[in-house]
């Protein structure tokens, strides 16, 4: 009984959640009482400190995320260090505790993010239901604005960014020939911050969700919103902290834990992609943290960072916000580029075309990515001369992106193409991302941008880039590594069905948005003029079809995970390191440190190898557990 209450786990998490919340509340009341501020129980500071800061910390502590460090600080024995008891998964229960195994964490990330993808998707369907007809049908403006605001926040902060972190968590250490990430306990902590962020954003519906859009512009979001706005501010902080910790972990892992022989120029492009993404995350994410803190201070403590009355500067919010949120577009894209390089090379049976230029163009995107933020602000009222340099850098970023697309096409050229599900999603990505990229070039051109900004053309563009781009690569990655993660094969027929439903549904939903946008329909309204009615009804019907395609994916994932055919170690005949071990890999990945001897894409050369494992030490299949 004592162990049940005091040992790490969900029971301790529950009571510590309450206890920390109460302590937080006490601190607020004490401070207000000593300062003579009444009422003592003012809603906003109480909710902020108690529910959005202290209670989640209690939850983490209860679950055991800090146990090792606490014991170490207190001078108690830290057995977890020696016996690896927090490592690996023997049963499904091990996925519900603080686990330090990067493979378990990868799966935790992916399952969590797919759940938020489903919630975010359902919010989108509600948005489309409202938009099917011009009048206000089901939701008033407050609810409607919350629906699209929470939809976007979940998809960005709780699905795309962390889904890539999940895939990379599973794959990167394996590809490097490492036993785990550099900081396994930090890795576990960064995962558990994520459900906190997600629950915060979703639960804001209970108290009056934020309705200022995911961009949360001041002064609308900093002074004119219900309390849900601070749920958004704080949710972003938790998700952002998770991102930063993971990125630091990837950087250290990639720099210090490569197997012997794994030089930077022998790393698979997926590793390069996560290396560059992590640089972006570490440099950029603190800016959104700053913007959300200041905005929240304006809301809760009546500071004036962004309020002109009092000397604040509303455009300051936009500059700081986009200084993160434009690089964030690449944070949501570069890992997908990495997945594409692996999938296209493997299923074309050819080396990546122009490997070094591919890696260098990732670096070019990182550098240029920090010089384009104000292209979101061409109409914002910032100094008008700033539009020209921002336009030039924005258009220039098309060059490294173009290099990548042409190189993938050249990789397929004269190859032996196999159209398994991951490859189908890769091709879907290529075609859709080209369309999204070209509409991006249009939007980079200032005169075009000021004629269609804040219209549905923008909505179409962002979905071609983030859905046709990022989400397609996430699906490709999930199918590609599904056998490695679960030890079972997914159903290829259902996978292909999922692809075609998604591809067709996606285009029917989002392509017509370009047209209603240029015709002058603004975004973020639940009520629009009747001349857009026909196309909107069409878009809404198509979106419901697109929604149904996700059911095929879920069915396939769940049944294949349980009953799928047992996967061999290397079902795709790929060359990178993760395919040299069993599916799923042994607890510490490699029984013997692999020796890297060549390029990861040496297709077409008889007997070529990327790395050597001593044959006697190749793990046996009986280590497979699901």
């Amino acid at each position: 009984m004592r162990k049940l209450l005091l040992g790490p786990g969900w029971i301790r998490a529950a009571w510590m959640f309450v206890a920390f919340g109460a302590i937080g509340l006490g601190i607020v009341v004490l401070c207000r009482w000593s300062a003579g501020w009444y009422p003592l129980l003012l809603t906003e500071p109480c909710v902020l400190i108690s529910l959005l800061v202290a209670a989640p910390l209690g939850f983490l502590a209860g679950l055991g995320a800090f146990d090792y460090w606490t014991n170490y600080v207190l001078g108690k024995p830290t057995p977890a260090h020696e016996d690896h008891s927090g490592h690996g998964a023997k049963s499904w229960k091990d996925y519900f505790r603080v686990n330090t195994d990067h493979k378990v964490i990868g799966v935790q990330y992916l399952v969590t993010t797919v759940i938020f993808f489903l919630i975010g998707g359902m919010l989108a369907l509600l948005v489309r239901a409202e938009l099917a007809r011009p009048e206000t049908d089901y939701f008033g403006p407050q609810t409607y604005n919350s629906l699209f605001s929470v939809h976007a926040s979940l998809m960005i902060f709780l699905f795309i960014i962390p889904a890539f972190a999940g895939l990379a968590n599973f794959v990167v250490p394996l590809m490097l020939g490492a036993a785990d990430m550099a900081f396994p306990r930090l890795n576990a902590l960064s995962f558990w911050l994520l459900p906190i962020a997600g629950v915060m954003m979703v639960s804001s519906f209970i108290v009056g969700a934020f309705a200022g859009g995911w961009t949360g512009y001041a002064t609308l979001n900093s002074t004119h919103q219900p309390i849900g706005a601070i749920f958004f501010n704080q949710g972003v902080q938790w998700a952002g902290a998770s991102s930063i910790m993971t990125a630091l972990n990837f950087l250290v892992t990639i720099i210090t834990m490569r197997a012997p022989g794994m030089t930077f120029w022998r790393m698979p492009l997926l590793v390069w992609a996560n290396f560059t993404t992590s640089l972006l995350v570490v440099i950029a994410t603190p800016f959104i943290a700053g913007s959300q803190f200041f905005s929240m201070f304006d809301h809760v403590m009546h500071t004036a960072f962004f309020t002109p009355v009092g000397g604040g500067y509303p455009l300051g919010y936009q500059h700081i916000f986009w200084f993160y949120s434009h690089p964030a577009v690449y944070i949501m894209m570069l890992p997908g580029f990495g997945i594409m390089s692996e999938v296209i090379s493997t299923f074309s049976r050819k080396p990546i075309f122009g490997y070094r230029l591919m890696a260098l163009s990732l670096m070019a995107i990182v550098v240029l990515g920090f010089s384009v933020w104000a292209h979101h602000m061409f109409t914002s009222g910032m100094s008008s001369w700033l539009r020209d340099p921002m336009m030039i850098t924005t258009l220039l970023i098309a060059v490294p992106t173009g290099i990548k697309i042409f190189s993938w096409l050249a990789t397929m050229w004269e190859g032996k193409l196999h159209f398994n599900t991951p490859m189908l999603f890769a091709l879907g990505f290529l075609s859709m991302f080209v369309i999204g990229g070209l509409s991006g070039v249009m939007l980079g051109a200032v005169p075009i941008d000021i004629s269609v900004t804040d219209s549905y053309f923008i909505v179409a563009h962002i979905h071609y880039v983030l859905f046709g781009g990022s989400v397609f690569t996430i699906f490709a990655g999930i199918y590609y590594w599904f056998p490695k993660m679960t030890g079972r094969m997914y159903d290829e027929r259902l996978g292909k069905l999922h692809f075609w439903l998604t591809f067709v549904g996606f285009n029917l939903t989002f392509f017509p948005m370009h047209i209603v946008g240029t015709e002058g329909m603004q975004r973020r309204v639940e009520n629009y003029t009747g001349n857009f009615g026909g196309l909107n009804m069409f878009i809404s019907l198509a979106s419901f079809g697109l929604g149904c395609s996700v059911l095929v994916f879920l069915y396939n994932m769940i049944t294949s995970w349980r009953f799928g055919e047992i996967a061999p170690g290397n079902p795709w005949r790929a060359m990178t390191l993760e395919w040299l071990v069993s599916s799923p890999p042994p607890t510490f990945n490699f029984d013997e440190i692999p020796q890297v001897v060549g390029s990861p894409y040496e297709y077409g050369v008889v007997g070529a190898q990327h790395a050597i494992l001593a044959p006697s030490k190749v793990p046996e299949l009986e280590e497979v557990h699901t």
Binding site: P141, Q142, Y217, T219, L220, P308, G312, P314, L315, R349, K350, P351, F353, G354, R356, L357, T379, G381, R387, D388, M391, L395, L396, A398, V399, G402, F406, S407, A410, M412, W413, E414, G415, K416, L417, H418, F419, L427, L430, S431, V434, L438, A445, V446, P447, I448, I450, D454, S455, H514, I515, E519, G520, R524, N527, T529, E602, Y603, G604, V605
Partner: protein
């Protein structure tokens, strides 16, 4: 490369380009342009669309050709040739897009500076935006105010815009220009309407619960009618 594959590539490229051109031309994408600035902006739009169609056709040709031509049988376990790159090609697809985007940037910068340049004798109008209404006032007409924006045709107009609360944005689809209105700042927008008519003014930046209904009209009227309105307002305010 064999001659046959070059012909096939060209063929697919032309078909893909043709389809894309049809998509660009057949639906009515843009409302009619009703200001001099809008005309220039539409020129940029079609200039960039033409480049985009060409790039789309190239990518589509390479992709569709590869999918059809290089499909392997399921039991074909062979690899493709070990080709790692081609310096000439790589320089080419770095340099050509560089030239294209530079051309786009130059055209845009020229159009932008032309659009911002005021014509002779510009009309000054103050715009006040607040949740969720527009007020237009005319310093040259005895500070007359109007909930509808009245503009004389073919005259350079400069809007000076202020917000009382949150960020709003002024947008008329037929004028093609958006300009945010930021509390604490005065932002400017230059328009030279060149067709008489009535168009919608909509708020283009989420500004709260009434954002979707923050609409009014702009009436572009002949100079004489505008002069008469100004005279009427002046006499009204003085008498």
């Amino acid at each position: 490369m064999r001659r046959g594959s070059i012909v096939a590539l060209l063929g697919i490229g032309l078909v893909a380009g043709g389809v894309a051109t049809a998509v660009a031309l057949i639906p009515t994408w843009l409302p009619p342009a009703r200001s001099e600035e809008a005309g220039r902006i539409d020129f940029v739009t079609w200039f960039v669309i033409a480049i985009c169609i060409a790039l789309f056709a190239i990518v589509a040709a390479a992709m569709i050709y590869s999918i059809v031509k290089f499909k392997a049988a399921p039991d074909d376990l062979e690899d493709g040739p070990s080709i790692h790159g081609h310096t000439g090609l790589e320089i080419g697809w770095t340099a050509i897009p560089f030239v294209l985007v530079t051309a786009i940037a130059i055209v845009c910068a020229i159009v932008l500076s032309k659009n911002d340049a005021q014509g002779a004798n510009p009309l000054h109008i103050d715009v006040q935006a607040q949740q969720f209404a527009w007020t237009f006032s005319y310093p040259d007409a005895g500070n007359a105010t109007s909930p509808v924006l009245l503009l004389p045709v073919n005259r350079s107009v400069e809007l000076y815009m202020r917000s009382l609360d949150v960020v709003h944005s002024f947008y008329v689809p037929e004028f093609r220009e958006t300009q945010d209105i930021v509390p604490g700042l005065v932002t400017q927008l230059h328009i030279t309407p060149n067709h008489v008519g009535t168009y919608r003014v909509i708020c283009h930046e989420l500004c709260g619960l009434g954002h979707g209904l923050m609409r009014t009209e702009v009436k572009v009227i002949p100079q004489k009618a505008f002069d008469a309105w100004v005279a009427q307002q002046k006499s009204g305010s003085s008498g």
